[in-house]
Symmetry: C2
Subunit: 330 residues, 2 copies
């Protein structure tokens, strides 16, 4: 193989290999980012806990070590709501640990990570990194537009196909599809947290189908097998785990019964006793053509399902797989 | 491509394509299984809710339609414990739905799915399916050994690398690596439920590394991209989601603090306020070389991590990916 199957991302990010070092705020160093960039990947610096002075210093250090493209990553969360009762309850929970470790008085609960703002924008327009990436959505358009106008490539993370469509509409140049396997903070910003627990293998093809911009897979990838898999995998109904039908956890399409029983999962009878109680509800709904109380077992790739006779589906799957393997092998 | 990259499973199951139709107890029919088998895949019948008479009838119907290999699937759960308080609480929760649907008296909570037993074993020794698969572990050796001696290929599902090793030691011929994305019942039988939420992309390579028998990927696969990815992806520390460090959900390696705070997730202050409270604990532990209170952010593939300098790691990943893509393209 002389090149990669798809070079859109390589051209966009000005890199040699389709590999991005994770920004890892608090852990990644300018030396690490420079080493990754010099090796042909995209080095990244997690700037979520840095002020503008620290970012300026780190970028200087990075540029002393590499003249290749790199990525600066920022958080863009809404400022937190303060709830004195929650603060007090957390302080109560942590007090025994503070005592055990001989720590003094507990600090007040304050905002330590600062969302991307005007001052940081000014600095970036001066420093001109090739790539800026955001976690927890995107900042206001007034903060993103000047970066795009200055030629900075914009990335952000999606945890559902819906979030990916929103990011594309907001103008990102490529989308990170962050699977449930990924380490560190979930990047969800629009979908409810529990509906964003989609594995990388189910998420990547659905995001690829949902948007036109290049898609970067994240989560569960640690060696060449994972990268090859992500390249090979490169549309969605909402599923969830439930014990409410049988007593054992099973994944199915969310419906009225599954949602209504969700808060009571822990108190239900053992498998398969629960079947007896839920059975009449299932049968009654089936008779009425309603899906409200039916166990609609389905996996997270249900959005990719097709209605085909078995033989035709097997034939299609085999042909698709062979075509896909041939395409990515180049 | 004239053949598939790895033919071990094809030889074992006597099939043409590495695709298995899911057994789907209650939904799959003999006609569907026969159609899948006739198309070169492995057709399956979910027998978890059938008695021996029904299985005999269904297999007869299947054999009228196909002379190819097929798979009979059984559950092998422990009999449920009866807890009158849970039964009563479930009845209370379901009562409004029964009223709404005009259903009469609620039945008592009884076991409807029967675990694989002696009588079913006798029937299988007579019917001799090519493949028998089990969910929720494996039955006692006395129920499995005669099947193996009769030449029936035995499959079961693992949701963690540890469960895969246990199944291999118990003599299964191939292991289904059931990722978190998969529809229907989770097949976990040894690991605690919450530690089995591993995405297919992270699970498959770790199971492949953990056992010698062939591994079948399940979960998140719906088209040729998914199959190609699973073929390309063909070691594990325990991670979990937590809000206890920053206030937003993030995935890290389980440690004392993450486990201690797990029951209180819902009551913690917003991101990033929680950082302030947890910060002194993190710093104190780092100073002592303890991991008890540190945020060890890591993804589900952490077991595959290697300690290499950045440049060497990028080079290794690129070489591995290219080799893997070339190998699966045949």
């Amino acid at each position: 193989m002389t090149t990669w199957p798809d070079t859109r991302l390589l051209d966009l990010l000005q890199i040699e290999h389709p590999i991005i070092q994770a920004p890892m705020a608090g852990s990644a160093t300018p030396a690490l980012a420079a080493a990754a960039s010099n090796a042909g990947a995209l080095g990244s610096l997690g700037c979520a806990m840095m002020d503008t002075g620290a970012v300026r210093g780190a970028v200087g250090e990075l540029r002393d070590r590499s003249n290749r493209a790199f990525n600066l990553n920022f958080f863009c969360h809404a400022p937190p709501g303060h709830d004195p009762a929650r603060d007090a309850r957390a302080a109560e929970l942590l007090a025994p640990f503070y005592r055990e470790l001989g720590l003094g008085e507990m600090p007040a609960a304050l905002a330590t990570n600062f969302p991307f703002g005007e001052e940081m924008l000014e600095l970036l327009l001066e420093l001109r990194p090739q790539v800026a990436s955001f976690h927890f959505g995107l900042p206001d358009e007034a903060l993103v537009r000047p970066l795009k106008d200055a030629g900075v490539v914009i990335l952000s993370s999606a945890t559902t196909p819906g979030e990916a469509r929103r990011l594309e509409a907001m103008g990102v140049d490529a989308i990170i599809a962050q699977g449930f396997e990924a380490g560190g903070h979930r990047g969800h910003f629009a979908a409810p947290y529990e509906s964003t627990w989609i594995g990388t293998l189910a998420l990547v093809p659905q995001v690829v189908d949902a948007v036109r911009v290049p898609v970067i897979a994240a989560g569960g990838i640690a060696d060449g097998r994972g990268i090859a898999a992500a390249l090979a995998a490169a549309s969605g109904e909402d599923t969830a785990m439930t014990r409410a039908f049988s007593g054992r956890p099973a994944r199915g399409i969310r419906n009225r019964y599954l949602d209504a029983m969700a808060p009571h999962e822990e108190t239900l009878p053992d498998f398969p006793l629960m079947n007896t109680l839920a059975g009449p509800l299932r049968k009654a709904c089936a008779a009425r053509g309603s899906g409200d109380f039916i166990a609609l077992w389905a996996g997270q790739a249900v959005g990719l399902n097709r209605t085909l006779p078995a033989a035709e589906l097997v034939e299609t799957l085999v042909a698709e797989t062979r075509a896909r393997l041939a395409a990515v092998a180049g």
